[in-house]
Amino acid sequence: MQEAMIKRAKELLADGTVNRVMGWKKGEFVYDTTPAVFETAEELEKEFVCNDFTQANLSKYLIKESRKEGKILAFLKPCDTYSFNQLLKEHRIIRENVYVIGIPGGPKLDMEKIKAKGISGILDVKNENFTLKIETLYGTETMPFYEAVSGKCADCKSKKHVVYDELIGEDGDVLASRRFDMVEKLENMTSQERYDFWRGELSKCIRCNACRNVCPACTCENCVFDNPKSGIDQKAAADSFEENMFHIIRAFHVAGRCTDCGECSRVCPQNIPLHLLNRKFIKDINSLYGEYQAGADTTSKCPLTDYDTDDCEPSIVHERGVE
């Protein structure tokens, strides 16, 4: 796969279709790949990488990159194409300046899941027939591939590319995923249990803003939490209320626009399952206002900027009963 991508990128650079390539760059280890822009064939040859750990969603970078001189080639996984499409719809990316090559998605691996197995000092990871062979400082370890699959890939919603100029590999289909299972499980808990669950999770938050800054739906020029005039700007959560506030408002602000790419949970240094908040909104929207997948197209109206005169009343929340 990586070779095919490098080959095609070099061709497109050579024939002048594009002047830059957006992809991932090798790091110190097998897993620390960094999104990067490549300008020459030599750079591609030397540093370009696409492996089991190239998880980062490149779509958000294209906001800035598509405003630069010339055209850029971007390799997008299926989930990334949804983000890309959503950004197109919001007029954040200049489509003419991006050449999209769809590449097959994951499942990608999450190093934290490997480390959570107690495997440390990792030097290399190889996938041999869905068994990971892991070279470490302390000898070779093995573990099943699927136990190391990252959270965002385990709940994959679609292997279909919703936008591309060309494809490398086959296009897939929208999957019948079980991504709402955890949301449902929480919904079935008592209010107190849910409260305890979220307090436990959100109290880990260090307000590093990684979830916000990586989110392809969070593209405000000046975030309300950075704006002193908003009256709610905060640098750190000085009280548990501010932890709740930040995550509720952030999830609400991307509701209807969140494509469920899972980047927020991936980057969280404290492993807070932030995607559950977004999925709750998606699930509610689907069940109350009809199935909707943000980023699936560039024309439909976002459910929160739309309405139906027959919409349900907010009292349906209260009809769930009093506890």
Binding site: V183, F241, E313, P314
Partner: protein
Amino acid sequence: MQVNENFEPVIVAFCCNWCSYAGADLSGTNRLNYPTNVKIIRVPCSCRVNPIFILRAFQRGADGVIICGCHPGDCHYTSGNYFTRRRITLLYSMLDFLGIERNRTRLEWVSAAEGAKFAAVMNQFTEDVRKLGPNRRLEDLRCRKQ
């Protein structure tokens, strides 16, 4: 659940200028009683109520938040309250998801002619919140009155 009968909840009511705010007025001129716990904040349309407002009300000591707007179809700005309805439904559902007691939040449609309804809604809501006791799950400890 232990109910403290002496607990006086703080209720924040966001009222649309064109209907429920006038409805509150009407209930007053008709000498209908509604609890003094209710603090009314007038907004140009129920649609003006940003989710941040609701959370801020809880942060600064509200035990319950109610939004009152024009009946669907009657919005002064044609469609504002339809947007409110979607937005607030999702927000309340999210607060519920985070374990905030459902009965601390409410939305009611009250027209300018429904003074009696306004008083009844406020009485009912205040009682519901009184039963829940003070807001502890979504408060800012720094703002708690000593």
